[in-house]
């Protein structure tokens, strides 16, 4: 069995491993393992000197297998595979033993145990290494078209960057218009730039870009394939409008008698009609007919829009359209939902008229919003003389969302400024911690202090209309502990603004599942590495940008959109992609043709070849999960790189110190797998 020449390299990782695991001892011990030719320990194996050590040993000592005991394979497996490759050893003959994340860092209080565990891990890796087979990575061509899902500011920027580089982009947006939440905002912090003024040119560019195909009012239904070659099915919902004829003149929505509250764009503060364009600068400019509120769809009468349309563009019978697109890469920029403040009834939203959410306030202060930018109470006329802004609503709260929504402190300062500027009202901020990190944000905080905004350090406990004293009568009272004084305070105000936090989209888990990417418990998409790979996901070819990955503000979303575009462009530029050859392979000579595997495969990658009476794996579709391998009753499917023998060997290796002595292997091969 052991004609292999194995090199074992135990990394100190500075103190990270050597501080807990006795690396010198482990290296000496490893040198006695069967088949091990050389075993060394070294300060940093991932350094160029460490890698050269491996390369030299391969060349001079003729190593046929390499085991590096260091960190997680997710960290440095590619590094050491590269070293092997350079020295002429097939990279799939390399095996990583994870003695940092899985040993030294988790057993810091028990050094002998950590050392023993490291030995077991290395022993397992050495045994497995012996059974590894040389493999060649697949090369797959990259389709040059990219799909961007989500037309908010992150998606818009990603799409424009890629399109400007000369490649096709399909931009899919669920709502009738692109623009996302940024289109709802009035001003942006800390510069107080007009949100629409900086967003609409970009929206216009998207709408008119020759390289961008815009699919609004559309949703992705299904994703198949792999990096370089995804097949995506998109449902384009019927607008009930013939966009070739429509000029966006507005006659239809001006005549539409069905008026409903707009919970999406106006955040519930304003109305729209059944046939509507969410906002004047919408891209595309065409309206949609909402069949849930349209009178015609309810009782078959009305058709006012049709009557008044000058170009006869109304199509009540228009059907949804399904579009199937082939793309090489996908950027997900699906954004966030606003926390529903009714989940915290102590703040009275939905019960007390003059409690508003931050998104309602954005619409109110927006010059094109329902009040034309006037700051007024729910009655629509009265200007408030005092306003309380409550931070952390649905953020930093184990009852709702544990994380900080990152943007609310700054948005609250922006609101405080706008309230002061427009009404001169007294403004009270109730906060736990003021979080104004990033360029020029603290300066804005200082500016607000100069403006005389009150800051009360204490999370508001409740908002009530129950007056205790005459000066509270008819007011909303915000009750909180001013923690810097240590006393409870009750501040009567006219208006309360709840800084509702950011939540993952309500369907983010489903979407993550559909695209095959990770999703945190909270529901934000998981990046490949929190620090070093923030816009890639664990699924090659699928990138994430903006608030679907976690709460962030506009500049951060823009940066991520552009970063994702750069990642896509680098793949397109490379032209093809290397795919790990972890695949299933059927030994057709021994296949009984029972077809059990055919139905088990989630990717329909196994075809039954009728004339031969055997099954065959299509390596282009196989993703290497190994489900068929484990299920084959004849044990004739081999999982490349995770072969039966390699795993059995690893089990033996791991159990080197507890294996029953004296008895040779009693395996249970007579037992058929269930």
């Amino acid at each position: 069995m052991s004609e292999e020449k194995i090199g074992v390299y135990v990394c100190h990782c500075g103190h990270n491993i050597a501080g807990t695991v006795n690396v010198e001892d482990v290296a000496v011990w490893a040198s006695d393992l069967p088949g091990v030719t050389v075993a060394r320990d070294y300060k940093f194996m991932c350094s160029s000197l460490g890698q050269e050590l491996i390369e030299e040993d391969i060349k001079k000592q003729g190593l046929t297998r390499v085991v590096v005991a260091a960190c997680s394979p997710h960290m440095h497996e590619p590094t050491f595979r590269g070293a092997c490759s350079r020295a002429g050893l097939n990279p799939y003959l390399f095996e990583m033993a994870n003695i940092r994340e899985h040993a030294s860092w988790v057993h810091q209080d028990d050094k002998p145990a950590a050392t023993e565990k490291a030995k077991s891990i290395i022993s397992g890796a050495v045994s497995r290494a012996r059974e590894l087979e040389p493999l060649e990575a697949f090369q797959a061509p990259i389709h040059q078209t990219t799909m961007v899902v989500g037309g908010g500011i992150a998606g818009i920027n990603a799409a424009l960057e890629i399109a400007n580089a000369g490649f096709k982009v399909i931009l899919v947006e669920r709502e009738p218009s692109i623009g996302g939440h940024m289109a709802q905002f009035d001003k942006t912090f800390p510069t107080l730039d007009c949100s629409a003024c900086i967003l609409t040119p970009k929206m216009f560019d998207v709408g008119n870009h020759p390289n961008i195909e815009l699919l609004t009012y559309s949703e992705v239904e299904k994703v198949d394939g792999y990096v370089g070659n995804f097949t995506v099915r998109v449902r384009k919902k019927a607008r009930k409008i013939d966009v070739d004829l429509c000029t966006g003149c507005g006659d239809c929505w001006e005549r539409c008698p069905a008026k409903v509250v707009d919970y999406v764009y106006e955040a519930g503060l304003g109305y729209r009609t059944a046939v509507y364009r969410p906002f004047p600068q919408a891209v595309p400019k065409y309206p949609v007919i909402d069949p849930d509120t349209c009178i015609y769809f309810k009782n078959g009468r009305c058709k006012a829009c049709e009557k008044f349309c000058p170009t006869n563009a109304i199509r009540f019978d228009q059907e949804d359209e399904v579009i199937v697109a082939t793309v090489g890469n996908i950027v997900l920029a699906t954004g966030y939902d606003v926390f529903d403040a009714r989940r915290l009834p102590q703040y009275g939203y939905g019960r007390l008229a003059n409690v508003f959410t931050s998104m309602e306030f954005e619409r109110m202060t927006n010059a094109s919003g329902p009040t034309n930018g006037k700051i007024v109470l729910r009655d629509g006329v009265t200007q408030p003389e005092s306003v309380a802004i409550l931070h952390c609503i649905g953020s930093r709260d184990k009852n709702t969302n544990e994380y900080c929504s990152a943007t609310c402190c700054m948005a609250a300062l922006k609101f405080a400024h706008l309230v002061k500027e427009k009404t001169g009202a007294e403004v009270y901020n109730f906060y736990i911690d003021m979080r104004t990190a990033f360029k020029d944000y603290e300066k804005f905080y200082n500016r607000l202090m100069e403006e005389g905004t009150h800051f009360i350090r204490g999370r508001a406990a409740e908002v009530t209309d129950a007056a205790r004293k005459p000066d509270e009568a008819g007011k909303l009272v915000v009750q909180a502990e001013d923690t810097l004084i240590g006393k409870q305070r009750r501040i009567p105000v006219d208006m309360v603004i709840l800084m509702a936090g950011m939540e993952p989209r309500h369907d983010s888990q489903e979407v993550a599942h559909r695209f095959g990417i990770g999703c945190s418990d909270a529901g934000f998409f998981t990046e490949s590495h929190a620090k070093m790979d923030p816009v890639a996901t664990m699924s090659p070819g699928i990138f994430i940008a903006g608030t679907c990955q976690g709460p962030k503000d506009i500049p951060a979303s823009v940066s991520q959109g552009e970063a994702a575009a750069a990642r896509v462009l680098s793949l397109i530029g490379r032209g093809q992609v290397e795919i790990e050859p972890v695949r299933a392979r059927i030994d057709e000579d021994r296949c009984s043709g029972c077809r059990i595997c055919n139905n088990l495969c989630p990717y329909h990658a196994i075809d039954f070849i009728g004339e031969l009476g055997v099954s065959r794996v299509n390596p282009a579709l196989c993703k290497g999960c190994g489900t068929c391998v484990a299920a084959c009753p004849s044990q004739v499917i081999e999982g490349q790189h995770y072969t039966f023998d390699s795993i059995m060997a690893q089990i033996e290796g791991l159990l080197w110190d507890v294996r029953p002595s004296g008895k040779e292997k009693v395996t249970f091969l007579e037992m058929e797998p269930a």
Binding site: N399, A461, G486
Partner: protein
């Protein structure tokens, strides 16, 4: 248990409160102090009391009147963003103060002790006895004023002047004695 270097009052209070270890997560946000209906009468808000506790200022904690003004409304507990069982912690701090004999003279330990005295003797509470005894010893003046109220209650049949007693009192006594023995043995 959380990583702390001592076994002081802070650690003991957490250990003796079911779920009490969440106290290490206190953000000092003041939701408890802001929610407290009797906060105005407390010398420290619950938040501040926890800060004192975490700073190992044990004397200040034990002598504070804060837990004694807790009305057990649980507003703080359900609103706490860190899931800290604040009301339960107040009970534990009261127990600690009684055991240490350190509680504030203005506190209501006597009332609680008189109450449980009746429960232990009869198995039932005895409001008439409690009210008269407590008020005679602590607030004779208010007793005079409240006499009318008590009379009214008796007239309406709402105040029993003789205590009710459960049948199997020895059983209850055995249970409570054993519980006390275990509590002592647990070294608290």
């Amino acid at each position: 248990m959380p990583h702390t270097s001592r076994n002081g009052l802070y650690e003991q209070v957490m250990a003796e409160t079911p779920g009490g270890e969440a106290l290490t997560m206190c953000l000092q946000c003041g939701t408890c102090g802001g929610s407290c209906p009797s906060g105005a009468d407390m010398d420290s808000s619950p938040r501040r009391l926890f800060a004192l506790l975490m700073a190992h200022m044990d004397e200040d904690v034990l002598e504070s009147n804060t837990p004694w003004y807790c009305v057990s409304c649980y507003f703080c507990t359900v609103r706490c963003p860190q899931d800290i069982p604040i009301t339960d912690l107040m009970y534990t701090i009261k127990q600690k103060a009684i055991r240490a004999g350190k509680y504030h003279e203005d506190s209501h330990a006597d009332f609680s002790e008189s109450f449980i005295g009746y429960v232990e003797r009869f198995g039932r509470s005895f409001e008439f006895g409690l009210a008269t005894r407590y008020h005679l010893t602590h607030r004779p003046l208010s007793m005079v004023r409240k006499g009318g109220l008590g009379f009214n209650m008796i007239r309406k049949g709402r105040l029993n002047t003789t205590p009710e007693k459960i049948k199997n009192l020895p059983q209850l006594t055995a249970i409570l004695d054993e519980a006390k023995r275990i509590a002592r043995q647990e070294g608290s």
